[in-house]
């Protein structure tokens, strides 16, 4: 079905001088969409031309509207020779195709040239008239919303979460076509930019179709990546989570502060919402074929192109944990029946499990790219599952077709699924995929967190059933429920020590928990969190083809193991017991492998306190050695003590009696109804002598081990006033103020010494990362107290001797005085009886309403919705208070310098901006740029070149957001930063891919947006940030 695209070229400004003689430019513009091109008149002799063109109209299929970008080319008219191109603007019109997003694109866009960078700006106006699509066999998917945000976007409510969608398209890389030998670098770069723009449009359209097929209307956690495979092609692939989202009216929109109750508050209107009319139930049996993402190649033999099965994937073993579905002691069943909890599985449990399974097992991949969830969605977490596989790109038989790659990913996803099963889980959350390519070898990686989900979000009309369901629900309190193990205690997938949950005392928890998701907002945490990184380099012999692939796949398990050990040691050293947002990246170079694992360490109140680290020598007889070990031991103990202080980890001294095997029935009963303060009296009468607390022993048996321990201890401490994490939420900080500074930093280190050892390399790599962090702290010192959030490190080995680290993160200020107070609720279980926890109430209410609780429990269904309304109102009141400084600042700055016409656009990798409320999502931003230079020295060397390129990319993102009418980008990320240089030829090239969600946000206190006001609202952005 056709649509009409209209574009108008208004004016240009700051154009470059194209005619040396007159120092002026005779500019005109070509507007191209698909195969149709229009031209404006030439505006002679002006650097600030006014074209004020007519409306150029393109009548096109909506399929094309989705795939193609609008191309605006600015040229300098030349009477005698060919016209010179000044630069181009690619405008993605996708946001206009969705009636809930932007309605018009209008604004100044930087004119970009791949050789010269930004050269002036052009003012363009774009509109789309879309006719209603009634065609059942359509190929387009206009109207499906895309979000990079990996949680349910604020101001929406998830009516249903359908599940995993994926797609992959392949094309020949223009850089490797024969024609590239004769065309200019500019032409080649532009061909590439255009192709990728087309491919990602196509990809989105195809994913949109799948979503429509599943009955959804949106993709959340959309993650799109490029694989520059070289000779074998250019792959664009994407994964996401299909959802049905309902827009919340602005009145009931939840506040943006740390957490929301999107699913509880507006429960009643959800079921009646019109958007769901006419949708078929997704999980009916008849939909079996369509519910899973159709991967066409399931049947094909995979052997055709892939090398011998080199997939050393494995679940990251020990770190999993969570509560059980089978084993939980629900109040009803558990109380009455004594004996071991392990075997117990009440009938309700079974029912729950069956429901969930039927819901999830029908789909091929029960994966979710989300990292944070509506309350109650996540029941238990099993642990990290990951899979890697090494493939040879030159073995692809039919490189231009996606089949082979589809099969590769299919294989890996199957493996992830089976790992999750082994952990007793039926779903994988926080799922992501990545690749690392070096020459013809490619590592495919996937990782996620095995979990058990609440089935009610996956069924139609979930919420009316949901209320009934509450009785079936697991009784775990939200603050610790997700930690309870999901697997069978007697049949554990890996060795771990189980204890009873330190929070609710009813169910088993592991001693440590590793996950790829964000910390659930309702989780009970002690102290603050911090960034924990494990870094590793491994040398490898240079090799070709299969030999190389085998060598790499042999190395991988060792690297994973070592990274894991490092993480564990550092976690213990900080006296923490859980990791969130774990991301392990392994990059291949010609002669080495780099591994970088980043995560945010946390002390979960529900998990046992980590034991210390004990150093043991191999040769007990040696006295000097003994002494040495003692000093190290002392240093370690000191560090742990110091870290406890820094991160304010002082958990209530708890009894250890429950460690290990199930506890005799009577004692456990008594615990259930006792508050923590009471329980401390009990310590004396309990057996504390299990001695398992210090179970972690490091053995020093060679110099390597000594080095390792040294490097462990030399991790720089964070300067006072700073915190860091790689997740959305920083545990322990809840009162953000409004200053935000997003930044990107890239460093490349050249290894000078050819004969490096693994140890030496490790040291260099560690220093590189540490120094980066140090320089962030220094640069952002004026923002103290502040927290670096969402620190996202990406490592690469662009050339043999080079290590590249790129970081994107955001620094946010907070109010120091109140850091300790979590505004809405404090983790308390004291004396609470089960029913409250069952209802997932913030616990503070228990104190005053304890008398009513018992009544409530008896008639849950009736009063439930009502109660939730009350709660959300309450929390929003509290939220709105700490805002005031934004306003006064913006007033001042607008007065000072009235002339600015540029909208301030804030950017953040997080899904929210502190102190503001997102009122509208305008569409996804997904941009790909190439920049090349043949005058590297003149542009300030490699640093100067990249510095201006990154600044240009930011500028172009901001301009596009502003043109959509937005004032911020959330969930911003730099997916790709490929940098290549050839200093001898004075050349360099860089490719950057960024994405995010364009939004309009207003200060939390403002009721409705005042459009004219938007630009000013945000001028306060980083008053403090310099």
């Amino acid at each position: 079905m056709p649509g009409k695209l209209k574009a108008k070229i208004v004016a240009g400004r700051h154009l470059p001088v194209m005619d040396r003689a007159s120092d002026l430019t005779d500019a005109f513009v070509e507007v191209k969409f698909g195969n149709t091109t229009f031209k404006t008149d030439v505006c002679p002799k002006s650097l600030n031309p006014q074209w004020n063109s007519e409306w150029f109209k393109f009548e096109v299929d909506d399929e094309d509207l989705q795939d193609e970008p609008l191309q605006v080319t600015v040229l300098d008219h030349d009477t005698y020779s060919a016209n010179d191109a000044i630069g181009k603007v690619y405008i993605d019109i996708d946001p206009l195709l969705c009636n809930e997003a932007a309605s018009v694109i209008s604004g100044w866009f930087p004119i970009y040239d791949t050789i010269h960078g930004i050269r002036g700006e052009i003012n363009v106006l774009v509109k789309v008239e879309l006719f209603n699509d009634l065609n059942r066999f359509r190929q387009s998917s206009c109207g499906v919303k895309f979000f990079c945000t990996t949680s349910i976007p604020r101001c929406y409510r998830a009516a249903m979460v359908h599940g995993f969608v994926e797609e992959l398209v392949v094309n020949e890389d223009p850089e490797y076509q024969w024609i590239d030998r004769i065309r200019t670098p500019r032409a080649s770069n532009e061909a590439r930019q255009r192709l990728i723009s087309l491919m990602s449009g196509e990809l989105q359209r195809k994913i949109g179709l799948k979503v429509l097929e599943m009955g959804g209307n949106a993709v959340v956690g959309y993650l799109q990546c490029f694989d520059l495979e070289g000779e074998s092609g250019l792959v664009v692939r994407a994964i996401g989570t299909a959802c049905t989202l309902d827009k919340l009216s602005s009145g009931s929109a939840p506040n943006t502060a740390t957490h929301t109750h999107p699913n509880t508050a507006p429960a009643s209107n959800a079921c009646n919402s019109p958007s769901k009319d006419g949708k078929e139930p997704v999980f009916g049996e008849d939909l079996l074929s369509s519910s899973g993402p159709p991967t066409p190649f399931r049947a094909l033999p995979t052997s055709s192109s892939s090398p011998p099965p080199l997939s050393p994937s494995k679940p990251c073993s020990r770190q999993s944990s969570s509560s059980d579905t089978d084993l939980s002691l629900t109040p009803k069943t558990g109380m009455g029946s004594g004996g071991s909890a392990g075997k117990e599985a009440g009938p309700l449990k079974t029912l729950l499990r069956q429901q969930t399974q039927t819901a999830l097992e029908q789909r091929e991949f029960p994966f979710f790219t989300l990292t944070s969830f509506p309350p109650g969605f996540l029941v238990h977490v099993g642990g990290v599952v990951s899979a890697r596989s090494v493939k040879l790109l030159d073995r692809i038989h039919n490189p231009d077709e996606p089949e082979t790659r589809d099969a590769w990913w299919e294989e890996i996803r199957q493996e992830i699924k089976s790992h999750a099963k082994a952990l007793g889980c039926h779903a994988v959350v926080g799922y992501s995929e990545s690749t690392s390519i070096c020459e013809e070898v490619c590592i495919l990686s996937a990782s996620g967190t095995a979990a058990i989900l609440n089935p009610r979000y996956m069924r139609e009309g979930c919420l009316d059933i949901g209320i009934v369901d509450h009785r079936f629900e697991d009784p775990s309190p939200p603050s610790c429920g997700f930690c309870h193990i999901p697997y069978d205690e007697l049949n554990m997938p890996f060795p771990t020590q189980l204890t009873y949950c330190y929070h609710c005392r009813r169910q088993k928890v592991p001693d440590v928990l590793f996950t790829t998701i964000d910390l659930p907002p309702e989780a009970a945490v002690t102290g603050k969190g911090c960034l924990i990184q494990a870094r590793l380099c491994r040398l490898k012999k240079k090799a070709q083809g299969e030999v190389n692939a085998t060598a790499i796949s042999n190395l991988l398990p060792f690297m994973e193991y070592e990274l894991h050990t490092q993480l564990m040691n550092k976690l213990k050293l900080r006296s923490m017991n859980a990791l969130f947002g774990l991301r392990i990246q392994i990059s291949i170079g010609e002669n080495m492998l780099l591994g970088l694992a980043s995560a945010t360490g946390v002390y979960l109140t529900a998990l046992p306190a980590p034991g210390g680290i004990q150093i043991a020598g191999k040769t007990p007889g040696d006295l000097s050695n003994e002494h040495h070990i003692l000093t190290i031991q002392k240093r370690i103990n000191d560090t742990i003590a110091k870290n406890k202080e820094i991160y304010q980890i002082n958990p209530p001294e708890l009894t250890e009696e429950v460690v290990g095997s199930p506890i005799p029935e009577p004692r456990q009963r008594s615990r259930l109804f006792r508050s923590h303060s009471e329980s401390s009296d009990e310590v004396s009468e309990l057996d504390l002598s299990h001695g398992k607390k210090d179970a972690f022993v490091l053995e020093i048996d060679d110099t390597d081990a000594v080095e390792d321990i040294h490097s462990l201890l030399t991790d720089a401490t964070i300067p006072t006033g700073f915190n860091s994490c790689n997740t959305e939420i920083m545990p322990g900080i809840y009162n953000w103020t409004s200053a935000v500074q997003m930044f990107t930093s890239v460093r490349v280190f050249r290894l000078s010494n050819a004969n490096l050892t693994n140890q030496g390399l490790n040291k260099i790599f560690t220093d590189l990362c540490e120094n980066l962090l140090k320089s962030f702290y220094f640069k952002l010192r004026s923002m103290i107290p502040c927290c670096l959030c969402h620190l996202n490190f990406t490592v690469a080995v662009p050339e043999e001797e080079l290590i590249q680290v790129a970081v994107t993160a955001v620094a946010m200020t907070y109010d120091k005085d109140q850091t300790q107070e979590k505004p809405a609720e404090k983790p308390i279980t004291k004396g609470c009886i089960e029913t409250e926890e069952q209802l997932q109430f913030p616990m503070e209410l228990c104190a005053d309403s304890s008398s009513t609780n018992t009544q409530l429990s008896s008639k849950i269904s009736g009063s439930l919705t009502h109660f939730f309304f009350f709660l959300s109102a309450l929390s929003s009141l509290e939220r709105s208070s700490p805002v005031p400084d934004g306003r006064s600042r913006s007033l001042r700055s607008t007065r000072g310098f009235g002339g600015s016409s540029v909208t301030v656009v804030k950017m953040t990798p997080l899904s929210f901006l502190p102190g503001t409320r997102i009122i509208k999502y305008l569409g996804i931003i997904n941009m790909f740029f190439i920049r090349e230079t043949t005058s590297l020295r003149e542009e300030g060397g490699v640093s100067g070149f990249l510095h201006s390129f990154i600044a240009e990319v930011f500028a172009m993102v901001r301009a596009h957001v502003a043109a959509l009418g937005g004032n911020a980008v959330v969930s911003y990320s730099m997916k790709e930063c490929v940098f290549m240089e050839n200093p001898n030829k004075n050349q360099a090239q860089c490719l950057i891919n960024v994405s995010g969600d364009a939004v309009i946000c207003v200060r939390e206190t403002d009721q409705e947006p005042v459009p004219s006001n938007i630009g000013q609202t945000c001028t306060s952005e980083t008053d403090g940030a310099t």
């Binding site: 640069k779 002339g899 980083t1022 310099t1026």
Partner: protein
């Protein structure tokens, strides 16, 4: 650790004011790092020399990229490349256009040409301002000069609007442009004791009172060129010396106006004739371009005795005093254009809007504006 590549880019451009100043002052990166280390930033946030070096390089790069925009500061507000909060933009611009008094004193009144630019290394050596900084300042002068040269309207206002400068700085630039345009000689040894601010004050007075713009505010170059007609008319001042009656009348008017306003009053009264003669002689010659250039030298050389007599006893008559003097005395013989807030006595003399110079006016103008430098000069001399 020596990095092959090391960049840090913030969505809001991060700029450290201290580093900016170092960059403006022409320090090299390594010197800047040294200065910063001595300044104690490192202890402040547990940084190492590496960190400091990397930060300094980043900032220097940012400034270099911004410099292009600072050439026409209006661009800074609507460019898209750097997101800089408005108040910070103002700081960037103001600092970029700030200059060293020592440096400006050297080039004041010189032609802003390539030739002068070649001599900058000498000036740099002499003033202890780095060559890089000298070049920036010189280029700033030249840029402002070029832009306002072709504009109509009041000079100070033009500068302020085109370069988004503060009022004070805009006035200083107006003075620099004015001096460069009229090529007043300021470099002679005898004038060395005068500071830039002394000249800037004179320039302000001259612009307000002696230029075409003082009567007509829509001509090109109105505030840059001296009013030829006016200079011509100055010749008539001679009557103040030759005609005894007028001399006395002049004296009495001036004395009435100045009585009690200055401690140097007695000396002035006593030497009024000498003083007046010196000034009138200078004034009468100003139709000659060469004499215009030597205006300030003449003031010092050809009226020293009388001025010296006036201020024989270390009498400090500061610029402020002079201007106050002028303002107070103006109602008696000046017309509205002389002093910025039109004197209330306008109505009394009912001065016509067209300039009709009376001899009294002229002498008073000369005395008041000249004495600015002269009185100051004598003070300084006697101090020596």
């Amino acid at each position: 650790m020596a990095m092959e590549l090391d960049v840090f880019v913030g969505n809001t451009t991060i700029m450290d004011e201290e580093v900016y100043q170092l960059w403006l002052d022409g320090y090299t990166v390594s010197d800047a790092v040294k200065v910063r280390m001595e300044g104690g930033v490192m202890e402040e946030c547990e940084a190492s020399a590496d960190v400091l070096l990397s930060d300094t390089m980043d900032q220097y790069r940012t400034f270099q990229m911004c410099e292009r925009l600072l050439y026409s500061p209006a661009k800074l507000a609507n460019q898209l490349l750097f997101q800089i909060p408005p108040h910070r933009q103002a700081i960037l611009i103001e600092r970029y256009y700030a200059f060293d008094d020592a440096f400006v004193r050297e080039v004041l009144g010189k032609k802003l040409s390539k030739g002068t630019k070649k001599d900058l290394d000498d000036i740099s050596a002499k003033t202890n301002v780095t060559l890089k900084s000298c070049r920036r300042q010189f280029d700033n002068f030249k840029r402002v000069f070029k832009v306002v040269e072709e504009l109509k309207g009041p000079l100070v206002e033009n500068i302020r609007q085109h370069f988004l400068l503060s009022d004070k700085l805009a006035r200083d630039y107006a003075a620099i442009v004015f001096f460069a345009n009229n090529r007043f000689e300021t470099g002679k040894r005898k004038l060395q004791y005068l500071t830039f601010q002394d000249f800037a004050f004179c320039a302000g007075q001259l612009i307000n009172n002696w230029t075409v713009g003082a009567v007509d505010n829509m001509v090109e170059d109105m505030d840059v060129d001296l009013d030829k007609e006016f200079l011509q008319e100055l010749k008539e001042l001679k009557i103040l010396i030759t005609d005894k009656d007028l001399l006395d009348q002049h004296k009495s008017l001036v004395c009435t106006a100045l009585r009690g306003k200055t401690k140097a009053f007695n000396e002035m009264e006593a030497n009024f004739k000498n003083l007046s003669r010196g000034l009138v002689n200078i004034a009468a010659k100003l139709t000659n371009t060469k004499d215009v250039r030597d205006f300030f030298i003449d003031l010092v050389e050809k009226t020293p005795s009388c001025v010296g007599q006036i201020h024989g006893r270390h009498q400090k008559l500061y610029l402020q005093n002079v201007s106050r003097l002028k303002r107070i005395s103006s109602p008696a013989y000046f017309f509205p254009c002389l002093s910025p807030p039109p004197p209330p006595a306008d109505a009394v003399i009912s001065a016509p809007p067209v300039r009709t110079f009376s001899v009294f006016d002229l002498s008073a103008v000369i005395i008041s504006s000249l004495s600015a430098s002269l009185l100051e000069s004598s003070v300084c001399k006697s101090d020596l």
